[in-house]
């Protein structure tokens, strides 16, 4: 039971590090104490937990043992400000340079943020209202990660959009990670009645830094509000990321979520949407393009708690080299949620012999007057389509890239801003094209393909 020992070691180092913290002087000392109590009496999730069944804990534990090995330098000196400003310049989207929030290694940095909008109120950990730091929901599936976040949190930001305001400029949140540390990202987003907000959240990490980031984000959409939330994860190839997003929606609200995964050694998203008001709608879209030995896990739950709500999930994945991906989607239709309309679809392209996918589209339906459908497909590029393009003058790798791009275009097109779309498209291409020739060569060697009448035309 080696993994069990690793888990115990991990828990011990958390408690040891926590005890060195100056909890008494924190503005949220009560919450921190409660979190410590929770962590001391509970254990880190393990494979017996259905939501962690396919998770490979090895990456997490190996990064953590590096981080915790010298607890004195748990938080090293960050990059100096000049270097950070250069990084921010590199990753900020043109349209959002005036609406920018920056965190460095999980800590909210007001000095690097550039924000000027009277309709949005931004507060930090020391001046936020205590109820903004939602931490009491013990029913939450990710309570351990939440408590861990609360325990080590240094600074966080809270966004509140005033009533009946349509924010026309896209707000960008840039998370930079540049050192081997355990980063706790925390934020809460409140959209008041009748308002709407577009957000782009990008995660970037300096290559070769092997951090763990543990993000906890809560969103509340009040009556008739609208939130467009785009997440682009391009963390360092040595990092391990854990991400918990909880969304609560009131009557007539609309939530659009687009999530993109390109980086990190191992990334895990747990997204839970509660449709608590009638006529609310959630659209969740995702694209994961993973290569090398990356792992990505998408655990999505949509709870239809009341009647007449709609939800859609569309997640696509391109998996090459030795990468592994998991899609675990759940639609829960509660007892009184009549006239629910829920859809869920997961499409995957496996491009290499050692690529692996675990797909679990699930439905839990407790009432009869509903429309629910789900589907999942796993396959590879169509030989006939590849041949068609080649017969029209595309070379092998161009045909390959064109088809792969068209596969992910459906999700990429959901991004509103062109600069963001280009950024995401480039990242997707980087992750596909490294193996394009290899994958094609393998396709050409495929027994079935060799027998097909197209094979001779390919030479």
């Amino acid at each position: 039971m080696k993994s069990n020992q690793d888990s115990i070691k991990f828990e011990e180092s958390i408690i040891r590090t926590a005890s060195k913290q100056d909890i008494e002087n924190s503005s949220i000392k009560d919450l921190k104490k409660k979190a410590l109590e929770f962590i001391s009496s509970n254990s880190f999730p393990n494979k017996k937990n259905e939501e962690w069944k396919y998770y490979d804990f090895k990456d997490l534990f190996s990064n953590s043992s590096n981080i915790f090995s010298d607890t004195e330098t748990f938080r090293q000196e960050a990059l100096d400000k000049k270097e950070l400003v250069m990084l921010v310049d590199k990753y900020v989207f043109r349209e959002s340079s005036e609406n920018l929030i920056v965190t460095v290694n999980g800590v909210y940095r007001e000095d690097l943020s550039n924000f000027n909008n009277n309709d949005i109120e931004i507060s930090n950990l020391s001046n936020c209202k205590s109820d903004q730091l939602i931490d009491t929901d013990s029913s939450s599936k990710d309570q351990y990660l939440r408590s861990l976040n609360t325990l080590f949190i240094e600074n966080a930001f809270f966004i509140k959009v005033a009533k009946n305001k349509k924010i026309d400029k896209t707000l960008q949140v840039l998370h930079i990670s540049n050192q081997n540390s355990f980063n706790q990202i925390r934020s809460a987003i409140e959209i008041a009645e009748g308002s709407s907000l577009d957000m782009v959240i990008s995660y970037v990490g300096l290559e070769d830094s092997s951090y763990i980031s543990n993000a906890v984000i809560d969103c509340h959409l009040a009556k008739n509000s609208n939130l467009n939330f785009t997440k682009i994860q391009n963390d360092s190839s040595n990092s391990v990321t854990l991400y918990s997003l909880d969304v609560k929606q009131d009557k007539d609200s609309n939530f659009d979520f687009n999530s993109f995964h390109f980086g990190a050694k191992s990334s895990r998203d747990q997204i839970t949407v509660d449709l608590n008001g009638t006529n609310s709608n959630a659209n969740l879209n995702g694209l994961y393009v993973v290569n090398q030995s990356r792992k990505t896990h998408q655990i999505i739950t949509v709870n239809h708690n009341v009647e007449r709500c709609t939800s859609k999930q569309l997640f696509k994945g391109i998996i090459s080299d030795e990468a592994r991906a998991e899609f675990n989607g759940m639609i829960e239709v509660k007892k009184n949620a009549k006239l629910t309309d829920a859809k869920q679809l997961n499409n995957n392209l496996l491009l290499s012999p050692k690529a692996h996918i675990d797909s679990r589209p699930q439905l839990n339906i407790l009432t009869d007057d509903v429309k629910c459908a789900h589907g999942s497909t796993i396959g590879q590029l169509n030989e006939e389509e590849l041949f068609y393009l080649q017969s029209r003058g595309f070379n092998k790798s161009d045909a390959f890239v064109t088809l792969t791009y068209s596969f992910c275009q459906e999700i990429l097109n959901k991004i509103k801003l062109d600069s963001v779309k280009n950024y995401a498209t480039n990242l997707a291409f980087n992750n596909i094209s490294t193996d394009s020739n290899g994958a094609l060569a393998k396709l050409a060697n495929n027994d079935k393909f060799k027998k097909s009448r197209y094979a001779k035309n390919l030479k």
Partner: protein
């Protein structure tokens, strides 16, 4: 809709047709499980040493195991010491002639619609009837033996063909497989054994009927079917039990072994007593069924119609080891009142060019829970594997639930997997349309249900399909409102 409501109530109040008990003297062990009980079962059956060892090994493993809790079913912990592990009709039965079978037993079977004498004459189906724990009658044996087919109870096979039993038993379901399968390996009392020699197409549909009669007894039967190269067999299984207020455990193991170019078609119509409308009594149907496609181009097809049992918990699986082998699973699971069903399949693709098809139809009515749980696993060497899964649920009434929990694990990039599922209800528009054309609401419901289940029923052999259709109509009467 009040008319419908009435019809529905009528249907729901339909009594379980097979709920009678037969007054037959039986010889039962006292309740309880111990090494002694297992040795006693083994010695009564005069088993060779390898069987006794097999049972004892399983029993030792069982002692270290805990009952699994992951399924979406809810029941009090079963006390394994409160079960009678062996119960047999007292009259000594000679299997060669029906004249010596206790007339009460024969009467029971004719009540169930299986007059064994008739079956003797009726061309096409050979029946093995299992009463409580032992096999009581077996028809057509002689005719089958002439072409080399062995069709007998497993106890008989242990006596007469120990080499075959020894070679294959426990190879598909190892004795330590899971809690209930391990228990079965330790205490199984009887069951069916079929061996189809190479190059033989079994001319008859083979069939087994299971009946639990004694209150408080558990039924642990074991079926082993081996289909050798280039052969074919179709096998049917039917189940009934009397209505008792207590829950009874049925933990069976079914192992199928399919050689090169061979095919087994296994059909089940399960109608165990489901308990009354308040969920009192009924059978716990915890069954482990698994097939292995050992050779190239082999095929296994599972068809099941699950309408009975208080709790159904079974996953007929296929291990597709041979290249080009095919696995199929067609299932209709119907739950009403407080019934619970957690059923599905596992398709494990190991060989090249293997194909599997899963069609699952779940119908939940009343306050029942119906879950489809299935695994499709493509191993790294299973090039060009293909799977198509369709699982549809129909909900009748707002108090029941329908869940779909598929697991798809793919480690080979040449695999093609499709999974789709939908959930619907019988709409008023559909009912109105049929009513408008002069079809009564009740008939309209059965028409819609039979349309919904058509994909599965068409896989059932002849008269079973008709029977299944009737069974569905019977079970669902009065459940649409």
């Amino acid at each position: 809709m009040s008319n419908t409501q009435n019809n529905l109530e009528k249907l729901q109040n339909q009594k379980y047709k097979y709920g009678f008990t037969s007054d037959i003297e039986t010889e039962s062990f006292p309740k309880g499980l111990s090494e002694d009980v297992i040795r006693k079962i083994s010695s009564i059956k005069n088993e060779p040493k390898f069987m006794t060892d097999f049972r004892l090994k399983a029993y030792k493993q069982f002692l270290d195991m805990e009952a699994p809790t992951w399924a979406n079913v809810d029941f009090p912990k079963i006390d394994m010491q409160e079960i009678i592990y062996y119960s047999a009709p007292k009259t000594k039965i000679s299997k060669d002639s029906l004249d010596e079978v206790d007339p009460e037993i024969l009467k029971t079977y004719s009540k169930l619609g299986i007059p064994i004498e008739e079956q003797m004459r009726l061309e096409g189906i050979a029946v093995d009837a299992i009463f409580d724990s032992v096999s009581v009658a077996n028809t057509h044996k002689k005719a089958l033996a002439e072409i080399g087919i062995i069709f007998c109870s497993i106890s008989e096979a242990i006596q007469e063909h120990p080499e075959l039993v020894k070679k294959y038993i426990g190879t598909v379901i190892p004795s330590s497989d899971n809690y209930f399968a391990t228990l079965n390996s330790a205490v199984f009392s009887d069951g069916t054994f079929v061996y189809i020699p190479p190059n033989t197409k079994c001319p008859l549909e083979l069939s087994t009927n299971f009946r639990i009669n004694t209150e408080g007894s558990g039924q642990f039967e074991r079926t082993l079917i081996i289909c050798d190269e280039n052969s074919y067999v179709s096998y049917l299984e039917g189940c009934t039990a009397p209505a008792f207020d207590t829950n009874q455990l049925h933990a069976a193991n079914v192992e199928l072994i399919v050689m090169k170019n061979a095919e087994i078609k296994y059909s089940t119509v399960q109608n165990w007593y489901a308990g009354d409308e308040n969920g009192k009594g009924g059978i716990y149907n915890f069954v482990t069924k698994r097939a292995i496609c050992q050779g190239d181009n082999s095929k296994v097809s599972w068809t099941q119609v699950e309408t009975g049992s208080a709790i159904t918990w079974k996953y007929p699986s296929c291990i597709l080891k041979g290249d080009n082998s095919i696995g199929e699973f067609y299932s209709v699971a119907l739950t009403n009142n407080l019934q619970q069903a957690d059923t599905g399949t596992k398709m494990i693709h190991l060989g090249k060019n293997t194909k599997s098809t899963i069609v699952s139809k779940g119908i939940s009515a009343g306050r029942s829970d119906n879950t489809y749980r299935g695994l499709v696993k493509i191993g790294p060497n299973a090039a060009n594997a293909r799977n198509y899964t369709q699982c549809d649920s129909m909900l009748i009434g707002s108090k029941c639930s329908a869940n779909t929990t598929p697991y798809i694990e793919v480690s080979n990039n040449t695999a093609n997997i499709e999974h789709e599922a939908s959930t619907s209800k019988i709409s008023e528009d559909q009912l109105f349309y049929l009513n408008q054309r002069g079809i009564s609401t009740e008939d309209a419901i059965s028409t819609i249900i039979s349309g919904f289940c058509k994909d599965v029923f068409k896989e059932l052999p002849g008269e079973f399909a008709a029977e299944a259709n009737q069974l569905m109509a019977l079970k669902l009467e009065n459940s649409v409102g």
